[in-house]
């Protein structure tokens, strides 16, 4: 291993010591403004690439974690850290792919009411948070995902959500009304 410079050592030590992922500004606040945190992070990520632990960025926050390919050896039991119900998984997916989204919008996609507890579980896990209100009649509360969600599911940003670009391109993230109008237009165009 090459000898890292002092900025790298500081950033490395701080990320190891911290019990939560740190943003560049967190690191700068802790280590001082003179440290070139961004460069150090880049160099460290390179140093650790291919090792048993790696430096990853999730939603603008950095942390060390074990390499994913070692999962089968490291996990003693294959139990999920937080067993989500099917409703929980679907609700989480809807919030992640549609955010920000209101409860009524989630229910419209799922075709059933959200039972009490589904959103609570997601919020308790630290994956979902209320994100203000939609400025429509009734001013419904809207929900969005958190940096903790990105970290837990190994996403650098929401753009990394599996298949999100395909879903968007296929119009599957648009509301039914909008998709229907688009289809109508298309067929009108064909007839013209």
């Amino acid at each position: 291993m090459e000898k890292p410079d002092s900025a790298m050592r500081l950033v490395e030590a701080a990320l190891f010591a911290s019990d939560k992922p740190m943003s560049i500004s967190d690191l700068r606040a802790h280590l001082g403004e003179r440290i070139d945190v961004a460069t150090a992070l880049e160099l460290l990520a390179g140093d650790y690439a291919g090792r048993g632990i790696e430096l990853v960025e999730r939603g603008g926050r950095w942390h060390f974690q074990t390499a994913p390919d070692l999962a089968h050896i490291l996990r003693l039991e294959r139990e999920e850290p937080r067993k989500l119900s099917r409703a929980g998984v679907e609700t989480l997916a809807i919030i992640a792919y549609h955010e920000p989204v209101s409860r009524a919008e989630i229910e419209a996609i799922r075709g059933v009411q959200i039972s009490k507890g589904t959103l609570d579980v997601l919020m308790e896990a630290g994956w979902v948070r209320p994100a203000g209100r939609r400025e429509t009649p009734g001013r419904p509360l809207i929900y969005a995902t958190t940096p903790g969600f990105l970290a837990h599911f190994g996403l650098s940003s929401r753009r990394d959500l599996p298949g999100i670009d395909d879903l968007r391109a296929a119009g599957l993230l648009d509301p039914v009304d909008m998709a229907f109008d688009a289809l109508e237009l298309e067929s009108d165009g064909d007839n013209a």
Binding site: A67, P68, H152
Partner: protein
């Protein structure tokens, strides 16, 4: 795009055509419809709504035969689907809005969207997850920022504060300075002595002591005036004045 259809556990358990009759296994009619649509093994955009309606109604029929409690929303959906089916089969009635085709298309769109989210959710939870597939440092010491107060005060504030305390709590003495005055007794004595046997009129100022202390002179004047009044009462001198504020003259009686 194509969506690979996951094997739905409920459907798989019951085989391709026969569905397991367990209403509780589906979260509402839309969920059941999606499961049925998937048995058509085609892209959700290609599904036959008519076939879907048939399957749904057959399913509910079987459920009824088994005397299962069927939730109201399943029956509402059944009624709506039966209506939709009749609309699709019968000649188009232009007066009806929205058209059965539109309703069928909307149902199809809803099923596509639900399916997309179901698959997205499955892919999401299959990712490398912290605590299951990847692990964080097991023994972080934690970073702490200890905020320490740097107390500030300056010397002026210190001195001014002491001054304020002292001013507030120092015992207060009232010194009344002695001012030079001529008492009435002294004035009577002085005027009587100076008057002697003089019989010519003299201004009262002539009886005042010399000196430059104006305050004392004013006091002496006031006292000498009162002394003159007293001596006049005793019949020992006479006073005269030509008018208000005019010079005051006295002489021995």
């Amino acid at each position: 795009m194509e969506f690979a259809f996951d094997e739905n556990p409920e459907v798989a358990a019951a085989g391709a055509d026969v569905l397991m009759l367990d209403i509780d296994g589906w979260e509402g009619p839309l969920d059941l419809l999606l499961a049925l649509a998937r048995t058509q093994k085609v892209d959700l955009r290609e599904i036959s709504i008519l076939a879907l309606v048939e399957q749904y109604l057959a399913f509910l029929n079987d459920a009824k035969a088994l005397k299962l409690e069927i939730a109201a929303d399943y029956l509402v959906m059944a009624a709506w689907l039966a209506y939709l089916k009749s609309g699709l089969l019968l000649p188009r009635d232009e007066a009806v809005d929205p058209s059965p085709e539109e309703l069928a298309l909307r149902l199809q769109l809803r099923l596509q969207r639900l399916n997309a989210m179901r698959e997205a959710g499955a892919r999401l939870v299959a990712r490398d997850r912290i605590g299951r597939d990847v692990f964080l440092f097991g023994a972080p010491q934690g970073l702490r920022t200890v905020r320490k107060a740097a107390w500030e005060a300056d010397l002026y504030a210190l001195i001014a504060a002491y001054g304020a305390v002292t001013a507030r709590n120092r015992p207060v003495f009232h010194h009344v300075a002695r001012r030079p005055v001529m008492t009435l007794e002294a004035a009577i004595e002085r005027v009587a002595a100076m008057l002697g046997e003089r019989i010519e009129w003299r201004r009262i100022e002539a009886f005042l002591p010399g000196g430059t202390d104006e305050a004392y002179r004013r006091s002496a004047l006031a006292s000498s005036f009162v002394a003159a009044l007293e001596l006049a009462r005793q019949g020992r001198l006479d006073m005269k004045q030509d008018g208000a504020f005019a010079p005051l003259f006295i002489k021995a009686a």
